[in-house]
Symmetry: C2
Subunit: 799 residues, 2 copies
């Protein structure tokens, strides 16, 4: 496990030199900068690094540096003989082609060694243009992005050079790079520098120029003389000295800002869902940037020669949103394309391509014959409110209730659907809502059986309220897979007992005057409620009972003719069934739709978080035509009265489209097949079934889950599904409430992960829900990273 790291030290000044074209003078600028730095900071303090170089040694850039700045430390990490693009040269070399991560690791090691020597400068020169491919073929702009070394862009002073410079600048910015300065030769004919100075002035990017070097001389000695004289002349040029001072200042400002931003945040930010009295500035993580699965976070206690930034695995997937890695260039380009094509455009009574294409893609991929309509909003909470408005209206009209009737939600204990007040009202009172002034839980929430692995055994725990009905306290299974084999479990005694229990409960509720307008569930896993894995058979049975018996049960009017409960493919019966898939959907649990794990089709389905791959807020509430029809009227005000200004904003829709396409592509091409079969199977066997994902699979290995479940002294249970791992810890002795949201039982484990892996080269940043520790991967996390995390967690639990 070798996560990419950003490069930042307190005393070593690291800069990366990029070219806006080939042959724009990168090496000359590098040499000039090195010489200028040597003059002001003594030559031992200055170093030059060419990570990847092509061409015969005496033609290479480092040769030029060695010739004209012989005092400067000068290294090349990967040298290829053939003078062409590194990816081609690497192939032709016949040597093993280094992975991107290996190239980054080598650069970091090199820089760390320089940093250990104390203060100084390190200039890293790239090869060719910003997108020239590295040895593996990855364009350098992507390859080096995680390092976030401040960029110096050498502009193109030739004909057409304005265009090359602007395009290269934009490609760097797209990767979150800070371009600290543009440097280019003065050219009296084209005067590109004048244009560029004006252009970049509003963005506060300074443009520095030096005279053009002399014409290249074919005679080596004459060339040496004239270039020597050129560098000599430059040494009295103030321009590079100014640039160095400017770079030094910007770098100091960056470190300063990073080191003070937690205090500033403490003073100005009002944090979400956070008791700030209990959050000191030192507990706030300053995030410099993020790439792939890792934040690059400030290490506040780094010694003066240690790296200031450290990779931290984003173990909460940034509040469950991350799907395709931080800084994913495909998502960035999708966002930028939509921003350029539309900005935001009004959605009411109009239509644009990303919104329509996304609606079509969602409806197609859900494979739910009921769903026919897509309503857009901004987040899971608003999307659940929309779903609620939809369902309540449909139910009220069918059952003939008046607008004043108190109609509630039928749900499960511990459900949570978001923080807006309407969404809060969809949940029973609990720590997330009961202190909120206008909160009034509207409905009833049933207790339900849950699933966990405990001491190597998968078991379904039956809550007390059901135990009498079921005549037992639980059931055990060979594997999680078996728990989800609903076709086999339906018809069992447990199933019958679930049916009876649910029907009795509903009859009791209705007899007490309850009116319900929706069955609202988070299918399979209740997220914020504590990562509770529900027995899928119970959820399935609940839906079935509501649909088969609901019309008779819930109708309180005799005046209206009701559709019978015969199963319809598209019309709702009993109650509109809402699945809140905000957390569980879109491959989080391994399936496009978590509903498919239950084998039922909801009438309304809510999707957010992963929808945009983890980039910008967007929510889609999908509904059936029969729900939609409830709002059709000749009266404008009977419409669904909801609509945010940025409804269906093109940037979000385009990113979501790209994100769904990419995840579907990954599934289809077997990118997750390493996780589809138990680890005992041979790779060949796994290869065979690359395109057939099992119903139940997880990136967290079953061996690891088994191992964790046996740490009986500390663990109450564990489960893993898709990218999610959840561990319920036994409450600590000091815990007030024993368990639940207020417990601090999982904090030890969390703290242990934050202190990092074996070699201290990375840490893991996780969130806990009371005594539940959870961690999740993105859909891009590789096997090595997951196994590295497993090792860290196992060690922490066994300590």
């Amino acid at each position: 496990m070798n996560p990419p790291a950003a490069l930042l030290w307190r005393h070593l000044r690291v800069f990366q030199i990029w070219g806006s074209n080939t042959d724009v003078g990168k090496t000359i600028f590098a040499t000039t900068l090195c010489k200028a730095a040597a003059e002001h900071y003594s030559h031992e303090k200055v170093a030059f690094l060419k990570p990847v170089s092509t061409g015969a040694p005496h033609e290479a850039d480092s040769w030029h540096m060695r010739t004209y700045a012989p005092d400067i430390a000068n290294d090349t990490l990967f040298q290829y003989e053939v003078a062409c693009s590194p990816h081609a040269a690497a192939k032709l070399s016949g040597q093993a082609i280094p992975l991107d991560s290996a190239v980054l690791a080598e650069i970091r090691s090199h820089a760390a060694r320089r940093a250990a020597l104390g203060s100084g400068w390190l200039f890293i020169e790239t090869a060719g243009g910003v997108h020239s491919p590295g040895p593996s073929g990855t364009p350098q702009a992507d390859l080096y992005a995680p390092m976030r070394v401040p960029a110096l862009l050498v502009g193109d002073s030739k004909l057409g050079g304005i265009s090359q410079t602007l395009a290269a600048y934009e490609s760097l910015k797209l990767r979150g790079q800070d371009v600290e300065a543009i440097m280019l030769f003065q050219d009296a004919q084209y005067e590109n520098h004048l244009y560029l100075q004006d252009y970049f002035q509003p963005s506060n990017v300074p443009v520095y120029t030096i005279p053009k070097p002399p014409q290249r001389n074919t005679d080596d000695r004459a060339e040496h003389r004239s270039m020597g004289a050129y560098y000599k002349r430059l040494s009295s040029d103030d321009s590079m000295r100014d640039l160095l001072a400017n770079l030094d200042k910007r770098r100091e400002d960056r470190i300063n800002r990073l080191e003070t931003m937690n205090q500033k945040a403490t003073d100005t930010i009002w944090y979400p869902f956070t008791q700030q009295k209990l959050l000191s500035a030192s507990q706030i993580t300053a995030i410099d940037s993020a790439h792939g699965d890792f934040f690059q976070v400030l290490s506040p206690k780094a010694a003066s020669d240690e790296a200031l930034l450290q990779p931290a695995f984003d173990g909460s997937a940034s509040w469950w949103t991350l799907g395709l890695g931080h800084g994913n260039p495909k998502l960035t380009l999708a966002a930028a394309y939509a921003a350029g094509r539309y900005g935001h455009v009004m959605f009411a009574s109009s239509v644009h391509e990303p919104a329509l294409a996304l609606a079509e893609t969602l409806l197609e991929n859900m494979r739910n014959p009921r769903l026919a309509r897509v309503f857009y909003s901004d987040n899971g909470s608003t999307g659940c409110e929309v779903a609620t408005k939809m369902a309540l209206r449909a139910a009220r009209l069918r059952y003939g209730w008046s607008a004043n009737d108190k109609v509630g939600i039928l749900g499960l204990k511990g459900s949570y659907h978001g923080d807006t007040m309407g969404a809060m009202d969809c949940s029973e009172p609990g720590v997330f809502n009961e202190k909120v002034e206008w909160y009034t839980g509207k409905g009833h929430w049933l207790d339900f059986p849950t699933v966990r692995c405990h001491e190597g055994q998968w078991q379904v725990d039956i809550p007390e309220a059901l135990q009498a009905d079921l005549g037992c306290g639980g059931e055990t299974f060979e594997s999680l897979d078996e728990v989800f084999r609903l076709d086999e479990r339906i018809g069992s005694a447990t199933h019958k007992a679930y049916e009876d229990h649910i029907l009795r409960e509903l009859q009791r509720l209705v007899s007490r005057g309850h009116k319900f307008g929706a069955l609202m569930l988070e299918p399979v896993v209740l997220g914020a409620g504590g990562m509770i894995l529900a027995d899928p058979l119970f959820q399935r049975t609940l839906v079935d009972v509501v649909r088969s018996s609901g019309s008779q049960l819930f109708s309180t009017s005799t005046q209206h003719s009701l559709p019978d409960d015969s199963p319809s493919n598209t019309d709702w019966s009993g109650l509109p069934v809402i699945f809140d898939e905000v957390f569980v959907g879109l491959y989080r649990l391994g399936r496009f739709s978590a509903a498919s794990l239950l084998g039922v089709h909801p009438d309304i389905s809510v999707h957010a978080k992963l929808l945009t791959g983890g980039l910008v807020p967007l929510c889609a509430t999908l509904a059936s035509e029969s729900i939609f029809a409830a709002f059709e009227s000749d009266d404008k005000s009977d419409a669904l009265l909801h609509g945010h200004s940025y409804t269906a904003h093109p940037v979000g829709c385009q990113v979501a489209l790209e994100s769904l396409r990419e995840m579907n592509r990954m599934r289809a091409s077997g990118d997750w097949s390493w996780a589809w079969r138990p680890s005992q199977q041979e790779p060949e066997q796994r290869q065979q079934c690359a395109n057939e994902a099992p119903l139940v699979w997880s990136v967290w290995s079953s061996d690891f889950v088994d191992q964790v479940s046996r740490v009986a002294a500390r663990i109450e249970g564990v489960w893993a599904l898709g990218s999610v791992l959840a561990i319920t810890l036994r409450a600590g002795a000091g815990d007030e409430a024993g368990s639940g949201y207020k417990s601090t039982a999982a904090a030890d484990l969390q703290a242990r992960l934050r202190s990092g892996g074996d070699d201290g080269s990375w840490t893991a940043h996780t969130r806990v829900l009371g005594n539940v520790f959870y961690i999740m991967a993105s859909q891009k996390t590789d096997k090595a990273t997951v196994r590295g995390l497993e090792k860290l967690i196992a060690e922490a639990l066994l300590e």
Copy 2:
């Protein structure tokens, strides 16, 4: 008024050829394509256009075309003698430099003439690289973006050409361009085409190659012979024929999709706030793209030789969000930078630069000493819920109410704060909420005096309920400016009467058992309620009375010691005052904060819509430290229980930062000074006060407002402030309710604007609120466009 138009015709196939570098063979590809098209579609049908060309005629690209494809129609619009970048050549020419809009208009006219000839092909060749500046200095990628002509990118086959091609591609995508194909020469040494084919395969961008042309020959006749032979050989190459067929198909797909998407939307989209039974497919606008202030919309009834796309002024500023123009490249790049640097990162207990910098920028610019904290959410509605949660808690704790006490909002009739249920509950029953199942208005909403211009006279209308207290039905003013001179109006008889009335009302409400937890106002203008301009003196007085007498009034407990009502700079008194500036803030009404028009500082302020300049959803709720302190406790669950997954998403924060910086820059440099003084004043006078914006100003001229107000037969009143113009129309004879949301009185005017301006070259897309017609400009709309709209509106009203 000459809005930029996208180019699309039913039969004419228009494509634009871009270079990823200079000297990559654009002209050779153009010639090859023209010849191939001529072969298959007859030469009369094929045309070549070089909008801007530099160099002596016999060196120009059109010369090459004329030489080797003499049958092809071949035009140049702007020819400059000096062979350098068009912006430099234009300067050197001594001729007047054409505006970007003039260049676009010429291209469109030219293409329209070709389209009038029937089916065919038109290839438009750009100059230099994608960012090479046009005559005005605007990079071509920006200059030509509004045309959205499908792009053919000529890749660079030379050393370093991979980088140049990828960077150019990204710069085009950033402008919302569809790159239909990449074309480049085969080069056996570098084989860039092989890399590019692999690279672009997942994005479905085909890469076409042809052999390299022969070495250039200094002898003209030899050159002519060898190039002639080259083109002859190419004519049997299938590659260009395939490309043409592919282009033709993609273009047909585009038109097909545009023409069917309204029907598809009718079938799959559930529209926000829309009674879809009353919305036929033909009423849905298909938006192809948008640039600046204009959508590019499908003209469904375009004749076969007429343009399929037409610019439509975005008169609702896309539901009040648009600030800096659609497709603004600065905002796009800001979004892309944050996406590349972070994606989204977890915000609870962490901090990142865009969120912190935006918080600091907002707090600084509000110039409100009370505000000290920033809470992020996703839209105005959630931000108002957050504000409500904040205020209710603060009030409840101070006044010692229990969590079960029914605490409401004190507001104004017609207020509206968003569509989530909690935000709906902050408003009195009305057409937007009363049919929503869980809606229960919580609070009381006072009637209030309103402002309008009527028959040339500015007047304040007093609602009936207040007339007895005031002893009159209204007041008249010389100008709107005078209405806002609160320093002069405070102390007047009206002010005293307002005070007395408000105090009496509050006493009456409290005596009836009302408990209030917040005073919540949209300062100055109530948006969704019908663009109602409130008398600022009344709103100001309301805040003052609540603050000065509130503690005594609202406290229902005698057990708690209350802070006295002495005015504090930072602590709240009476009630926490919430200003919902979602619509009115951030320069929409001409001022950074609309509160400054009232001269009071709220304790909580909500900002969204314009916050991101009109790109992505984001909301900031600002609050005072005394409000924040109400949530401090040793108990986690006393925290503010709100927090969306994408809280403070870096893309939104970075775009907002860029947007606020740009709007502040525009204000400081007097970009709006043309609108700051009445039109009677001379330009010189206006120049003098370029940096001093008056308190009250509007882009809509006072002459125009005066003119509209005198159309007495149709108009009840009109006002203009900042970028907003609102006209209340008299209800039509057929209107059921007479006025209000259900009225259709404004629909005629709306329909008239949709049918467009004089020459049919553009239309205006507006929204209405019942009998209120409104239109707003963005912060980038220029004077000519506003005056053009004024002319259109005046004509429509006088018809």
